[in-house]
């Protein structure tokens, strides 16, 4: 059926000039320079390995925890270390392992699945990776100095606040999370734009591999789910470092605000982790049944539906905080509703299984293990969704059991299935079936032995996060059993890790498409190559390899799009979002050190900020800024001619301006993220207002209102100047363009100062009370955006002078314009909240 049989190599050098060009252009630099590489295949591989490293680290912490709890009143580990261990175990698993490794897998396989040569912004994903690596190592290292965070992975204030955690421990947490946020946002923008725009011709959304749908939902969930935490982080750091009282009851703050912000992120987070894993299941399962996934539309419905409803669950972590029962019940209702899409998915998987005869290879075993554990975890999930039941088991070991069933069952097992499944793409060899069975057996049995008893001991009344417990309550044997299980589970993981190293030399050669899968990523030889497909075919179904047996040969012969790299550039095709018609040949950047250097400066500035060395941090941020300017300066090259023959009788433009370009989408998505963080700030304002209604809002007299109005006018003027500057540039009026940019900058600067002035006139400082703190936060928000806007204005002016923005290419200007308007919108909204709302209320 296929011409490339197992063990057969690709044709030799020189036999095929197009192929040689591709190989040369996409080759990883040799030696140490190899780390300059920004291609998704290499970055994705490092990303996955790093994720697994943090998994092992957090796993070792878990073993230490279990060792301490093996017997009652054990003093193997001190309470200080224990509290750091369980905090870091949760933090590392959630933030440094679960989310990043899901991004990592997507970075690695998604472009291949979509027939793209890379993701839309390779340097951004590379930057995200290095930021994650540096930040993660820094956060983890705190454990070796005894400075690790110790207030639990959800860091409830006031325990994590300045009074009860005066050391730098909590700051390490805030830092570590800051990094994961940076890399998660980078990855999610990358993934969304990749899925929506970097698809092969003909692959309209109804023909995308199902994994792409899951990752699309994942991307949007990160964009809407992470901002509340970013804001919470900022507020807590402001309270810790500068005593702005957002959570301090004495000064009108409320500790529940933190819980809301945290869980506004924290619950979607669970699904942010679960959906990509479900995507792996929906990808691997059909291969081992050798039948298409049953109910593609149903599964898309489930993924999208889960994405929405999971944002309505956050308060179900706060049932015991004294919120009125009716409000709790809304969240209880949503928590029950979210079980429906999960049910649909499970039944789609079962229907797929029923459709054929499953092949019980290792990846399939992990999928079956997943089904078992996840269904059980889902059922206990429905139980804890019930308010009165949760009052009983909340913060007990029952919840510990539940969350591990959902997370290990729902995420780690599918992940391992994915590792076994896609490993041949990375190494060209298969992992051992025998060791695989052992690993699965140890992990599955070990998992259940560890966590099932926890349900019981939780119902018996053992609270979570205790470093020891008294004997004689009947908890002893359950705990000992759990400890034994934990070591079994760890042994299983060790077998997998051993084999993933060992099989690289000893495993059987995988050859072409070893599992006889149907999706595009298996169209490359194994191990896979950086450029992905030799040529990019037109796609007509979900499983092109199954449905079109001739595809393999024709793709290999280079009969489709982009069969070579004669321009000497790395390039890939961008298609339209819905119809998937090819629209542009995107030239991608070549290997560079810049992302790594930029990530280093980011890490360094965060790192010194922990120790409150603000000047050095500012300096390092300046270096970061220089990096980004250098990074961006080379974009928007002037290709001549601006058409390129992509094969199949089509020529496409290379450079385009306008809202359809991937860079514009990237900016827009970034602003969605930014805007959601801003909305979280507005939420905080209203929360503080409802939490202490008797608290007087500041009285603004006529004078402040006039200044506020002037501020609004200044911002609008700035935006208008920005709009006009785009027109001026398009008409080639360079002088006017520069002048308008100057007006834009001046108005924005004036606007920010006027806004601060309104609060100064009202005599409101940021530290006296929570109102002042929130209002000053809004001013800071505008201040920050205006500062960035000014940098952008200067940058656009400089590009204009250098002839890099002109009438033909002005995408940089369009992207900046979007940001400028956003700044204006945020400022106007803040002014309304600050000055108009108190008049109404």
């Amino acid at each position: 059926m296929t011409a490339l049989k197992k063990g057969e190599d690709a044709p030799p050098e020189g036999a095929d000039p197009g192929l040689d060009q591709l190989r040369r252009v996409w080759a990883q630099p040799k030696g140490l320079s190899g780390y300059k590489e920004i291609n998704n295949t290499d970055v994705g591989r490092w990303y996955i390995i790093t994720g697994l490293f943090f998994f092992v680290a957090a796993g070792i912490m878990a073993l230490m925890i279990r060792a301490q709890l093996a017997v009652p009143e054990n003093d193997l580990i001190s309470h200080e270390l224990y509290n750091q261990l369980f905090t870091m175990h949760g933090t590392t698993m959630m933030f440094l392992f679960a989310v990043p490794i899901m991004e990592a897998i997507a970075v690695y396989v998604l472009p291949n699945m979509l027939g793209a040569r890379d993701l839309p912004f390779p340097r951004l994903s590379s930057y995200g990776y290095w930021a994650y690596l540096f930040g993660g190592l820094m956060a983890l290292s705190s454990l070796f100095f005894g400075l690790a965070p110790n207030s639990g992975w959800f860091m409830y204030v006031p325990l994590s606040g300045p009074e009860y955690s005066p050391g730098v421990n909590a700051d390490f947490w805030l830092l570590g999370i800051g990094f994961v946020e940076v890399s998660a946002v980078a990855a999610s923008i990358e993934i969304i734009v990749g899925v929506l725009k970097f698809r092969p011709p003909g692959m309209s959304p109804d023909r995308m591999p199902i994994y792409a749908w899951y990752m699309l939902v994942f991307g949007f969930m990160v964009l809407f789910g992470f901002p509340p935490l970013v804001l919470g982080d900022l507020l807590l750091e402001m309270e810790r470092a500068f005593h702005w009282p957002f959570f301090d009851v004495e000064r009108g703050g409320d500790p529940l605000l933190w819980q809301h912000l945290f869980w506004l992120f924290g619950h979607p987070e669970v699904y942010i982790i679960f959906l990509p894993a479900a995507g792996i299941v929906s990808t691997v399962l059909p291969t081992f049944v050798q039948k298409p996934l049953f109910g593609y539309s149903w599964v898309v419905l489930a993924a999208v539906g889960t994405g929405f409803i999971s944002f309505g669950l956050w308060v179900h972590h706060m049932y015991a905080t004294g919120i009125p029962t009716l409000s709790l019940s809304f969240f209880s209702a949503a928590s029950m509703a979210v079980a429906i899409p999960s049910g649909i998915q499970v039944f789609c998987w079962i229907a797929t299984l029923l459709n054929g005869r499953p092949i019980l290879k290792t990846p399939m075993l992990f999928i079956l293990g997943f089904l078992f554990i996840f269904v059980l975890g889902g059922l206990t999930g429905v139980m804890v969704a019930s308010v009165p039941f949760d009052w009983q088991v909340h913060d007990s070991y029952f919840v510990v059991a539940h969350l591990h069933y959902v997370l290990i069952g729902g995420m780690v097992f599918p992940l391992f299935a994915g590792l076994y499944y896609w490993m041949p793409l990375a190494t060209g060899r298969l992992m051992s079936e025998r060791l695989g069975r052992w690993a699965f057996g140890l992990m599955f049995v070990g998992f259940n032995v560890t966590f099932f008893p926890m349900h019981i001991v939780g119902l018996m009344g053992m609270p979570r996060r205790v470093y020891t417990y008294p004997a004689g309550f009947g908890w002893d044997w359950y705990n000992l059993t759990a400890t034994v299980g934990a070591f079994m589970l760890a042994a299983g993981v060790a077998v997998v890790l051993f084999d993933s190293w060992w099989h690289r030399r000893r495993g059987p050669k995988a050859g072409f498409n070893p599992w006889n899968a149907g999706t595009l990523e298996w169209l490359t030889p194994t191990p896979s190559v950086n450029y992905g497909l030799r040529s990019v075919p037109v796609i007509k179904s979900h499983y092109p390899l199954w449905d079109n047996p001739d595809l393999v040969e024709s793709v290999r012969r280079g009969e489709w799009y982009l069969p070579d790299a004669r321009s000497g550039h790395r390039e890939t095709i961008r298609s339209s979002t819905v119809a998937s018609r090819p629209e542009q040949v995107v030239r991608l950047p070549h290997p560079t050190w810049l992302p790594m250097i930029a990530a280093f400066f980011t890490a360094a500035s965060f790192g010194v900020a922990i120790f409150k060395l603000w000047w050095i941090a500012g300096l390092l941020m300046g270096c970061l800024l220089i990096c980004s300017v250098v990074w961006l300066w080379g974009t928007e090259d002037r290709p001549s001619p601006n058409r390129y023959d992509v094969g199949c009788g089509e020529t496409l433009p290379i450079h385009l301006n306008g809202p359809n370009t991937h860079s514009f989408w990237g900016m827009a998505l970034l602003l969605i993220f930014d805007g959601t963080a801003y909305l979280s700030l507005v939420f905080s304002y209203f929360f503080i207002w409802t939490a202490s209604p008797e608290f007087p809002p500041p009285r603004f007299e006529g004078g402040e209102m006039a200044v506020a109005a002037a501020c609004a006018v200044a911002m609008l003027l700035g935006s208008a100047a920005a709009r006009l500057s785009v027109h001026a540039n398009r008409r080639g009026r360079h002088g006017l363009y520069q002048l308008l940019l100057l007006v834009n900058a001046a108005s924005f600067a004036a606007g920010a100062l006027l806004m601060a002035q309104t609060l100064r006139m009202a005599g409101l400082g940021p530290t006296e009370n929570a109102y002042g703190a929130v209002l000053w936060m809004m001013v800071s928000w505008t201040g920050f955006h205006v500062a960035i806007s000014l940098i952008m204005t200067a940058y656009c002016a400089a590009r204009g002078l250098a002839g890099r923005i002109d009438a033909e290419r002005y995408q940089t200007l369009l992207n900046s314009e979007l940001f400028w308007h956003f700044t204006t919108a945020v400022t106007l909204a803040s002014l309304a909240v600050m000055h108009l709302f108190p008049q109404v209320a």
Partner: protein
């Protein structure tokens, strides 16, 4: 119980279906598959079951959060890093007396506990009595329950609250009404006079070593501190140091000498250099405070 049985049945049914898919003849299993399977199994069945569950769980929470009866016993509980201050109020809401790490109530009468905290967030939980409720700065949360039979139950802080979260327990004691009245009567009184010279020496040591700077003993000059638990009737409590130790003379001695070893980083220093006789007298006196 309904939850567990229902959950177990669903689990077994789903897993049965998976096993059937794995091992039965594909020609037969194929007939089962189809949109109807997903529609009924994945959508209709969960939607209906969950709706019923939702109605049921709302009615349960409605029942357990009903506002307290007029004659409820009113108790205030204040969480401290790592012990429980318990304040009894009379009908008019006036403070009657303060105790620590124990709550006592008569069988059959509703109890309304008002929960606040002196420092960080704690959570009040007696597993065999009622669900939990958090103690949050700036908030007063209430929990209402009615003990059904006499007995002692252990409760424990359920929200991580720092170093000694693991040792922040208390006891809930349900008495027959008459017994409870006796207990109330006893608690209202100041600490008893020491009947023997040795106990009197213990009391002197208590003042001399500055224990009174943190602990209050009603009726004792120089013992009016508010940082630690009120010790007026500490000898009558089910445990000491928030459930860390049983209430015995030996335990008192051990606690005084090595509080930092038994419960590291709690706010009570270890009095390691106390000489033997003083320590014995002090421990005996404390134990005698019934």
């Amino acid at each position: 119980m309904v939850l567990f049985t229902g959950g177990a049945v669903i689990f077994v049914a789903v897993m049965g279906l998976v096993l059937y898919a794995l091992f039965a003849d594909p020609d037969r299993t194929r007939r089962l598959t189809g949109d109807h399977l997903v529609l009924w199994g994945g959508l209709v069945f969960p939607a209906v079951t969950l709706a019923i569950l939702l109605v049921y769980s709302i009615s349960v929470s409605n029942a357990v959060t009903r506002p307290p009866a007029q004659d409820a016993l009113r108790v205030e509980v204040i969480g401290h890093m790592w012990w429980w201050e318990v304040r009894y109020l009379d009908e008019s809401g006036e403070l009657e007396f303060v105790t620590a790490n124990e709550i006592r109530a008569p069988v059959g009468r509703p109890v309304e506990v008002a929960l606040t905290t002196a420092d960080v967030i704690h959570s009040f939980w007696v597993p065999n009595l009622h669900g939990k409720m958090d103690l949050i700065p700036g908030h007063v949360n209430r929990i209402v329950f009615t003990p059904r039979e006499a007995g002692v139950m252990r409760g424990q802080c359920a929200e991580f609250c720092g170093d000694q979260h693991a040792w922040m327990a208390f006891h809930f004691v349900a008495h027959e009404p008459a017994e409870f009245e006796e207990w109330l009567e006893l608690q209202r009184r100041p600490a008893p006079e020491p009947p023997t010279p040795m106990l009197a020496a213990g009391r002197e040591a208590f003042v001399a070593y500055g224990c009174g700077a943190c602990h209050r003993v009603r009726g004792l000059e120089g013992a009016d501190g508010d940082l630690g638990p009120d010790l007026t009737h500490v000898g009558s409590r089910p445990s000491i140091a928030a459930g860390r130790l049983d209430n015995t003379v030996g335990a008192f001695g051990g606690w005084i000498v090595s509080a930092q070893h038994l419960k590291p980083d709690n706010f009570m220093p270890s009095f390691e250099h106390l000489d033997g006789p003083t320590l014995r007298a002090l421990a005996a006196w404390l134990e005698s405070l019934e």
